[in-house]
């Protein structure tokens, strides 16, 4: 899936971001560290790595159909949040990653974050959510063989990624409180978020337990029938 149109821009960014821009941001951040601008530096690095992922997606012979399927999965994961007891973003991202590949998984996770925040509020946390959910989808794509083979594997992956997601978002919470990262504050944030995290893990567990197989089969079927 080639996301950025101009080939020149893609190549330039692919080299510039990891070797020039991210080091520059970190070094500048270190130099002004006494003024405590961790939040801004982290935000810059997160945005740049999002861009890096989007640049590295290569051209693939896929038509409109795959794009539309990704749009459908994004919309389903956002619309699913309106059904009570369901928080299906993580689970659907995992399923998409496992059955349609890591790039689609990344896009579904990242875009679901943007679009659900149109309803639940945009903010500086949006890039963090995008990166966290995107990476969950990307790794699901890399682990697609074992994840597709057993239901236990996909459930374990989903629950773990739900917990990791909460942990990553707590880093953002800590950075926003104090503009400085302290372990004691991070521990406190993790502790206060514990009920949330537990609920999230349980909901992921139930969702994947009920839906991983049937949804996977549906995606497989669409893939076979229409040659996505």
């Amino acid at each position: 899936m080639m996301v950025i149109k101009s080939a020149r821009l893609r190549t330039v960014l692919r080299w510039l971001i990891p070797f020039v821009l991210i080091p520059t941001a970190v070094i500048v951040g270190l130099l002004v560290l006494e003024q405590r601008q961790h939040l801004l530096v982290t935000l810059a690095v997160v945005l740049l790595s999002l861009l890096l992922f989007l640049c590295s997606f290569e051209k693939r012979a896929v038509g409109v159909r795959r794009q539309v399927i990704i749009a459908v999965m994004v919309a389903l994961s956002v619309a699913g949040r309106f059904i009570p007891f369901f928080k299906p973003v993580t689970a659907l991202t995992v399923i998409t990653g496992a059955y349609l590949g890591g790039e689609s998984g990344f896009l579904v996770g990242a875009l679901a974050a943007v679009i659900s925040n149109f309803y639940f509020g945009q903010g500086p946390w949006t890039p963090f959510q995008m990166l966290a959910w995107g990476l969950i989808g990307l790794f699901a794509g890399l682990l697609s063989q074992p994840l597709r083979r057993s239901r236990a594997a996909i459930i374990v992956y989903g629950v773990i990624s739900g917990i990791v997601y909460s942990a990553v978002m707590d880093v953002w919470t800590v950075l926003s409180y104090d503009s400085g990262f302290t372990w004691s504050l991070y521990g406190a944030a993790l502790l206060t978020a514990l009920p949330h995290t537990a609920l999230y893990a349980v909901s992921n567990f139930i969702f994947l337990w009920l839906c991983a197989r049937p949804f996977g089969e549906k995606l497989e079927r669409v893939k076979k029938k229409y040659g996505v």
Partner: protein, 292 residues
């Protein structure tokens, strides 16, 4: 002069990114207060007192964050009181208040930004760089309300068929899963039909056009240049140390020499720019109306 909302989306993007970046970058009492006032005045000039309850939520967030810093951060020389042998210091309290105010300012900049930046503007901005991403984004945005409506329809049908009782957690969960499963099948098939229809009409052949056209008018250039000029004054002033601030171990007041004053004025102008435009436009409207 036009109301702020009608300017080119690119101008909006530059304006809001600079406003929220400088308030995060220069954490200093004067600038934080200026930025917060600017963000709040823009929000209330545009929205009046709509969404009253959400402001209470923001206020609660502000209080929690202001309180958290002194509880976890024990730097600072002036000890106010001891809790569990941990000192609560004046410096940490003051820092917490201003850090929370900074976050509140960012929150309100973003709120106005997402009200102004509708989805078609977003597509206008990013459609040129990444047409595929823009397409996926716009389709997903359209599908969300469609799916929500369809999900409700499926749910109502299932309930009318007596497939589950209410007030039963397990039944409800299973019913939710069933509805969602129906939605996935329906959505995927629906999507394929859409995709085929798009291909049949020649999607992807030739350049993508926009539904809404935004041109760069002279006022757009003017506003963009003003924003960038004020931003560079603030950044240069900040780089020269005009916005330096010492929080720990003891508070030192922000600078008030000539350079600092120039920077503050630029910062204030930048923060209140859209509010001034809105109020000016409204005044002109009232004035023209009364003359007719």
């Amino acid at each position: 002069m036009r109301p702020f909302e009608d300017y080119n989306p690119f101008v909006h993007l530059v304006y809001f990114v600079s406003c929220s970046a400088i308030v995060m970058f220069f954490l200093q009492p004067v600038t934080v207060v200026l930025s917060l006032l600017g963000a709040l005045s823009l929000f209330f000039v545009r929205r009046r007192l709509a969404e009253g309850r959400s402001h209470l939520y923001s206020l609660a967030l502000f209080l929690v964050m202001a309180l958290l810093n002194p509880l976890f951060n024990h730097n600072g020389a002036t000890v106010l009181l001891l809790i569990n042998h941990n000192p609560i210091t004046l410096e940490a309290v003051v820092y917490g208040i201003f850090a929370a105010a900074m976050l509140l300012a960012v929150l309100y900049w973003f709120r106005t930004f997402s009200q102004i930046m509708s989805s078609d503007k977003l597509l206008y901005l990013f459609g040129g760089v990444s047409p595929k991403l823009a397409l996926i984004l716009s389709m997903a945005l359209r599908y969300v309300p469609l799916f929500a409506k369809q999900a409700k329809r499926v749910n109502d049908t299932q309930r009318a068929m007596g497939l589950y009782r209410e007030e039963n957690l397990i039944d409800n969960t299973r019913a939710g899963a069933r509805v969602f499963s129906v939605m996935v099948t329906w959505g995927l098939e629906n999507g394929i039909v859409t995709a085929d229809s798009m291909s049949a009409r020649g999607y992807g052949i030739g350049k993508r056009t926009q539904y809404t056209l935004y041109r760069f008018y002279r006022t757009d250039v003017l506003l963009l240049c003003t924003t960038l000029l004020l931003l560079s004054i603030v950044v240069v002033g900040g780089a020269l140390g005009a916005l330096d601030m010492q929080w720990y171990p003891t508070l030192r007041l922000p600078r008030t020499d000539a350079l600092a004053l120039v920077t503050y004025v630029a910062y204030a102008l930048l923060s209140f720019l859209p509010t001034i435009l809105e109020i000016g436009e409204r005044a002109r409207w009232n004035c023209l109306q009364s003359r007719i």
